[in-house]
């Protein structure tokens, strides 16, 4: 999916773009680089970030507790933050600060969405949302809009890519990883994609065609947004996320509880 996205991005910029399997070529190449460690705890935390993300994704796909999923994802991000803070690189610290702020921006919205799903289905389990007869999209459209507004922050897309900002902090938290250990962080990004699109799929209930349509829509929306906007600074991001997305999710929650 990541390879496909790079092609779409290149086509939007009138370029041809890399081959579809390019992420896998990168993957194989990184495995063959000679290892360079900053220190062992740093590399260990990077790999644990990858493992924790697998756990979050597994719990979500197996249809278990949504709150648990969100906190496992938070744990994975926190491990990456710790890894970034454990080095002495300034850019790494800057990236970690920015990542912490972006977590502050999207996490409350996700939790409110999970609560809204609980109000509708009567259960925090993701399987309840997967098996819900009417798609959640029709019952809580505002929550979907709120999710669409925080997804760019979570996937580090422009205009909310302050955490990764290649031109400013050259990748931020992933700066000090190299070789095999960067591979863990790089692959964790693909997992993040799967995670986010599964969250989108939750809104379709048991309607598979609608789910695929929603995922396609989100894909096009994210890429169009990424290519057409410039980066905002972290204050604007935080203000926008907590002002607009959070209040949308809150209004959605109020409407759901009143109905």
């Amino acid at each position: 999916m990541y390879g496909f996205e790079r092609i779409v991005k290149a086509r939007m910029q009138r370029r041809i773009g890399p081959p579809l399997l390019q992420p896998f070529y990168d993957f194989l190449k990184l495995a063959q680089k000679r290892q360079m460690l900053v220190h062992s705890a740093h590399a260990f935390l990077g790999i644990m970030h990858f493992v924790a993300l697998w756990f979050a994704l597994a719990v979500l796909l197996l249809g278990s507790d949504l709150i648990l999923v969100i906190f496992l994802h938070l744990l994975a991000t926190a491990l990456l933050l710790l890894a970034a803070y454990s080095t002495r690189s300034v850019f790494s610290h800057l990236g970690a600060n920015r990542l912490a702020i972006s977590v502050l921006a999207y996490e409350p919205v996700l939790i409110l969405i999970a609560v809204a799903i609980f109000m509708l289905t009567g259960s925090f389990n993701a399987s309840a949302a997967f098996n819900h007869s009417t798609p959640l999209l029709y019952q809580m459209p505002l929550a979907f809009v709120a999710l669409l507004l925080v997804l760019p922050i979570k996937l580090k897309k422009s205009p909310f890519d302050v955490a990764e900002a290649h031109q400013e902090v050259t990748g931020g938290v992933e700066l000090e990883f190299s070789g095999l250990f960067f591979e863990a962080v790089y692959t964790a990004k693909w997992l993040d994609y799967v995670f986010c699109y599964t969250l989108v799929y939750l809104f379709a209930g048991n309607n598979i065609i609608l789910g695929i349509g929603l995922m396609l829509f989100t894909f096009l929306y994210l890429n169009a947004l990424d290519n057409s906007t410039a980066r905002v600074n972290y204050k604007q991001m935080l203000r926008f996320s907590l002002g607009v997305s959070f209040s949308l999710a809150l209004i959605n929650l109020l409407i759901n509880s009143l109905l």
Binding site: R6, A10, Q13, R14, R15, I16, G17, P18, P19, Q22, F24, Y25, D26, L28, K29, L30, Q32, K33, R34, Q35, M36, H166, Q167, T170, G171, L175, E176, F177, S178, G179, F182
Partner: protein, 173 residues
């Protein structure tokens, strides 16, 4: 499936300007643009030495930038390839012999490919990078082969005698 054929399909480029006039830098950026689009070959301009394979240097090495150049080179994990991009980086160009710079980057770090021109054409840069890919593949093969097997056995005559070496050092009067 031959995994080793993938190693030259994703070269990540680190671009460093060692005090040049930005002429070559603009041509490098033109390579990334829609007309030449080197991302077709899987190349990314990373900006991070720890994750890149090819070091693309422009400009004569000014005395301010030479320590950074060596430090960046040291931070790149092997296998790595260095391209001297443009006349200045190869030989010093028009700045050769001036008080504030050195003649070319090969005085400080080993260079694998020299790309000529002032400033270089994007086609030449792409050609240089493609040549560098062959060297990169060779280097990564060398990393895997055993060094010890190629080494000749030391004969008695070639060994340095410690006493002969010490005899040449005159005692301090």
């Amino acid at each position: 499936m031959n995994l080793s054929s993938y190693r030259k399909k994703s070269p990540w480029i680190l671009h460093y300007n060692a005090g040049g006039c930005n002429g070559c830098d603009i041509e490098i950026l033109a390579c990334l643009g829609p007309k030449y689009d080197i991302e077709r070959f899987g190349m990314i301009n990373t900006g991070n030495p720890k994750q890149s394979d090819i070091l693309l240097v422009t400009g004569p090495v000014t005395k301010r930038s030479r320590e950074r150049l060596v430090e960046i080179y040291a931070q790149m994990p092997e296998p790595k390839v260095v391209i001297a991009c443009g006349a200045c980086a190869s030989t010093g160009g028009v700045f050769r012999g001036m008080y504030n710079c050195e003649g070319g980057i090969d005085q400080y770090i080993p260079v694998d490919v020299y790309v000529c021109g002032c400033g270089t054409r994007p086609e030449q840069i792409i050609d240089g990078v493609v040549q560098a890919l062959a060297i990169l593949e060779q280097k990564s093969k060398d990393m895997e082969s055993s060094v010890r097997l190629n080494k000749q056995a030391v004969t008695e005559n070639e060994q340095l005698n410690r006493r002969h070496v010490a005899a040449e050092i005159a005692p301090i009067a």
